[in-house]
């Protein structure tokens, strides 16, 4: 089971990158380019709050998992 936990670390890292790509390309940039003033705040939130949490969080979580920090024997 610990081996699975470590291997899945790669999945969490990949998911973090994919999530960041989706949020920036599909959510933040179109909203920054939008003419509607209502879109500015969500764009800032997607780009500077949500993306760092998802990308940063999942990358670190994945790296810890990969290194075996979450092995149950520890």
């Amino acid at each position: 089971m610990n081996l699975l936990r470590r291997i899945l670390g790669i999945v969490w890292i990949a998911l973090g990158i994919a999530g960041g790509y989706y949020l920036i390309i599909n959510q933040a940039i179109p909203k920054f380019n939008s003419d509607k003033s209502d879109d500015l705040i969500p764009a800032i939130i997607y780009a500077f709050i949500l993306t760092p949490i998802i990308v940063g969080g999942l990358l670190i979580f994945g790296a810890y998992a990969l290194k075996g920090e979450y092995d149950q024997s520890k």
Binding site: W12, Q27, S37, I41, L50, I53, L58, F61, E69, Y70
Partner: protein
Amino acid sequence: MNITNNNEKKGLVSIIAASSLGTLIEWYDFYIFGSLATIISTKFFPSGNQTAALLSTLATFAAGFVVRPFGALFFGRLGDLIGRKYTFLVTLVIMGLSTFLIGCVPAYETIGFLAPVLVLLLRLLQGLALGGEYGGAATYVAEHSPAHQRGFYTSWIQTTATAGLFISLFVIIITKGSMNDASFSEWGWRVPFWISILMVGVSVLIRMKMQESPVFAKAKAEGKTSTNPLKESFGNKYNFKFVLLALFGATMGQGVVWYTGQFYALSFIQSTLNIDLTQASKLIMYALGMGTPFFLVFGALSDKIGRKWIMLIGMLIAIFSYRPIYSAMHDAGSIENKREVPANERIEVTEVEDATNKAQTVKTSVISKIYSDGTIFKETREERLTANVKEANGPSNVKISKAVILDNSSFWKLVWLVFIQVIFVTMVYGPIAAFLVEMFPVKIRYTSMSLPYHIGNGIFGGLLPAIATFLATKATQANEVAAKAGTKLPYDKPFLEGLWYPILLASVCFVIGALYINGKDRRVDD
């Protein structure tokens, strides 16, 4: 021995009551703003003004979720440095005063831009206070509770968010019912904000009589409290990995399940099914009222069989049942699936002078349709006309609103379908306070548990309505394009597409929680 036990139990009951009452009031204060958002926007954020629109979005988004984690950090740090009792007393006072003052701010037409700026600042203070409250109350109750009943006792704190929403809807309905629409729109909407100061006053008096948490007091007496809780929580790799695990393995999924079951359900009922506001509020109130006791059931059950799997099973059932549930809600509530009785169709047209502009008249056309099951549909079309223009010449001059009043059977079908979602909420949310408290050591507990909780709920959950609406709108637009082109529609039920956001996040959370969370540590004195 029995007298000691009885006294201990009485003490514990008063601790839970005092903590829960304060937290409930904080949630009430927070939801009042959201529940009255439409009327607040007309008073403070006039339409057609870009700056006001920007401030309005900031008030909704920033205070709704961005500020809450900052409140968690700020007050969490204080709670780990000076103690739980004084910190969650401060958050209660800030929340109560901010709410009361929102009810006192003069409207935009009286003081101009100062009005939306003041409301925004007060709303930000509300968000900060909420960010600090929950962790304090959960930690305080958990640190008083015996290990074998910690899930049950802390689940009282878990009922407060739902009960706060319930009471906010109840107070609004009562206030609205006690006066006419014009009075409510003019000043009556302020009453629910003013009521808060009375509730907070009582709660502060009760909380001031409470003692500091015994576990924290002991740690402080022994000099074992942290000197820098932020650094120890997030700068220390050992603790930080648990903060990440709490976020991605528990609170992220809990946040989206919570928001889907309560807020997305309400938004779906109002926006997609166009159910009348009062009937929609009643529907949610009944479902919440029926579901709330289950927080205690699953909290108590988590003491017997463990916290982890109750939360994860709740998530798993939610993942697989959201689409069928929302599909059934659409079947029960949409007029597309009902048979109209053409003989009962009525059209009423009235034309009156515009109170705000004497040069204009307001022409109102109300089309009423009655369906075979008793459901009523009303479409109100309001046009502003001048002497020269007798037909509205653009969409900006026409306001169309739709309202469906469901028959009794469809109404109760929807109540049960929302109730099922509230059960998922109680499964993931009931045991989580005890789970988070047990995950972190006493010296950094307030800080460490508050942050993942408010990121999970405030950010992942708080963004749900915006992202889900975006996905559903995109699917609807794709169908419209396909229909115009005469090709096959890409989405069978576009209104279900928004659900992929909670389904995806809850799925990731389920896998992480199932594989990485140990969940066997039940100590809180470490």
